[in-house]
């Protein structure tokens, strides 16, 4: 029954506590890291190296600031790759998330992984910058699997950095 609770807790937390959690995060200036956390060393991503920390298996991980769905990192994939047998959707919505480790704001692309039923693990809903679906590219209420070869069956969501916001000096 623990698990039922944790599911509901996630639903409630993610739906109800987003704001306060976010403000806490802002106050601390760094992301909250759960007990299960694995601090990450800087890793090469494409040609970019982004210094970061946090646990990609928790809703609080910095890249998830506008996510709405199951974390692929909990479903057999990773923060950037889809689980085996699922189809990445190229069309996405994006968020702008603050990376506390370097103080930069990054453009994060939330690609859905499709073609199987819901993963069911690590459900997160954070709505920083989320807009109604009449502004599709900023709407996390849309099922972005529509863009995949697998059509709408939604499994989980990855979070890929596609840009960095240059600071004004």
């Amino acid at each position: 029954m623990q698990q039922f609770d944790s599911l509901v807790e996630r639903l409630s937390r993610s739906l109800a506590k987003t704001t306060s959690r976010r403000s806490v995060i802002r106050k601390l200036g760094v992301l909250l890291v759960g007990t299960a956390s694995l601090p990450l060393l800087p890793v090469a991503r494409g040609q970019a190296v982004v210094k970061e920390e946090g646990d990609p298996a928790t809703c609080e991980y910095w890249r998830y600031c506008a996510i709405d769905g199951f974390l692929c990192a909990c479903c057999g994939g990773s923060v950037t790759t889809c689980p085996p047998g699922t189809e990445p959707a190229p069309v996405t919505w994006v968020g702008t998330c603050r990376n506390a480790s370097d103080g930069n704001d990054y453009i994060v692309s939330y690609n859905d992984c499709c073609g199987k039923s819901s993963c069911g693990r690590c459900l997160c809903n954070r709505n920083e910058g989320d807009r109604p679906i009449y502004r599709p590219q900023q709407a996390n209420d849309l099922n972005w699997c529509i863009g995949s070869k697998a059509n709408i069956p939604y499994h989980c969501t990855v979070s890929r950095i596609v840009g960095v916001v240059e600071k004004k000096r």
Partner: protein, 384 residues
């Protein structure tokens, strides 16, 4: 059935033989007839449909019919993949359900249909195949609505190309598609008209002809600022107008007229409310009682980006006077609310994370009852 019936007979005999080999015997009792119940001819004023997308098992959408007075579950529909919600035909004489199916559950060929269910038996009686492109979203009432004359069903498509599918309801046939580039969702505004909301804060007005084709399409000026303070998609109908709420807590009336649509704004919040960070929000956070024009708004304490957080109170407004007249403190937080349209209305409240429906007196705000074990992720509510 003959084979099965005789089969059942065999079972009965086998059974009595095997069970009473021991010497004791069983006297037959003519059993109750094997039948399914039917619903009354007229839907109850306090009935409500609870739509469930079943987010963890999206192939198994369900709609539950409940009686708010008795707290009884009256029946259920199975409604396929990424279920949005049922649409009630004229005086509930039929139940329309836009549905999606895959030949292999979550893979294979996609088929989109509108299924027509009989209101007394809750059995499918007709099916219209439509283009397999209806929008798959967190459920939105504005994804599928009927024209005021109940003649055409309008379904929003997002592929990501944007359009509206038109179905002729009495003829039970697919009519065609209306392109709505840059604009989303469906808000009927008369016998044969609707508008969609556009990304730049304008609206696209569409007039239908008697065949369900677009007779005219015109784009309005900007009606609200989608960047600084957007309206949510969850508006409610007030006469021929639509009432929306913005992220920051303004009410926006969109009034379609001879020339375009006029927008009028007033605030749902006073100074104290703003100081305490009260905001409207949720999945279906507005409801209107038409005759009394009481607007029910689901409210929570939250800051920026809290537009989908669940509400802890329902604030009631006199739409004519544009002022709050009542605060209802909910027993538990809710993401969707609805009110019945009779003289003694009920207020229904659900939270997507709880498998139950809470029922309140919509006038006094008194909590009446909770109906448990309803669905998995209850999303939206539809009253008669």
């Amino acid at each position: 059935m003959t084979r099965l019936a005789s089969c059942a007979g065999v079972v009965g005999i086998t059974l009595l033989a095997s069970l009473f080999a021991g010497g004791s015997a069983a006297a037959e009792i003519t059993p109750d007839p094997l039948v399914a119940d039917q619903l009354p001819a007229q839907p109850g004023a306090h009935w409500v449909w609870v739509n469930d997308v079943v987010f963890h098992h999206m192939a198994d959408g369900k709609a539950f019919l409940l009686d708010g007075d008795s707290g009884r579950m009256l029946g259920m529909l199975s409604t396929g993949f990424s279920f949005n919600g049922v649409v009630l035909g004229k005086s509930g004489a039929e139940i329309l359900s836009p549905e999606t199916y895959f030949s292999r559950g979550t893979r294979g060929t996609r088929t989109d249909v509108v299924t027509f269910y009989a209101p007394r038996t809750l059995s499918p009686v007709a099916e219209v195949t439509i283009p397999p492109k209806r929008a798959s979203t967190i459920p939105q009432l504005a994804n599928s609505r009927l024209t005021d004359d109940f003649r055409f069903l309008l379904l929003y498509n997002y592929t990501p190309a944007q359009s509206v599918t038109v179905v002729d309801v009495p003829a039970r046939k697919f009519v065609g598609e209306i392109e709505t580039p840059g604009c989303a969702l469906v808000y009927p505004t008369g016998r044969r008209a609707f508008f969609s909301l556009c990304g730049d804060g304008a609206a696209l007005q569409v007039q239908l002809d008697d065949n369900g084709r677009a007779a005219s399409r015109s784009r309005t000026a900007q009606l609200f600022d989608p960047l600084t303070d957007p309206v949510t998609e969850k508006g409610v109908r007030d006469g021929n107008d639509w009432l929306f709420a913005t992220f920051a807590g303004n009410a926006v009336r969109l009034a379609p007229g001879a020339s375009g649509i006029t927008a009028a704004t007033w605030s749902l919040l006073d100074e104290a409310d703003r100081r305490d960070s009260w905001r409207p929000g949720g999945m279906q956070h507005l409801a209107l009682h038409a005759t009394t024009r009481r607007l029910y708004s689901l409210m929570h304490v939250g800051g920026a980006d809290s537009h989908k957080d669940p509400g802890t109170e329902v604030w009631v407004y006199d739409v004519a006077g544009k002022k709050r007249t009542q605060r209802i403190v909910l027993q538990e937080m809710a993401t969707s609310i609805a009110v019945t349209q009779d003289a003694k209305p009920l207020l229904f409240a659900i939270f997507i994370g709880a498998q139950k429906v809470d029922v309140y007196d919509a006038l006094s705000g008194k909590f009446l009852r909770s109906i448990g074990e309803i669905g998995f992720t209850p999303t939206t509510l539809v009253t008669y």
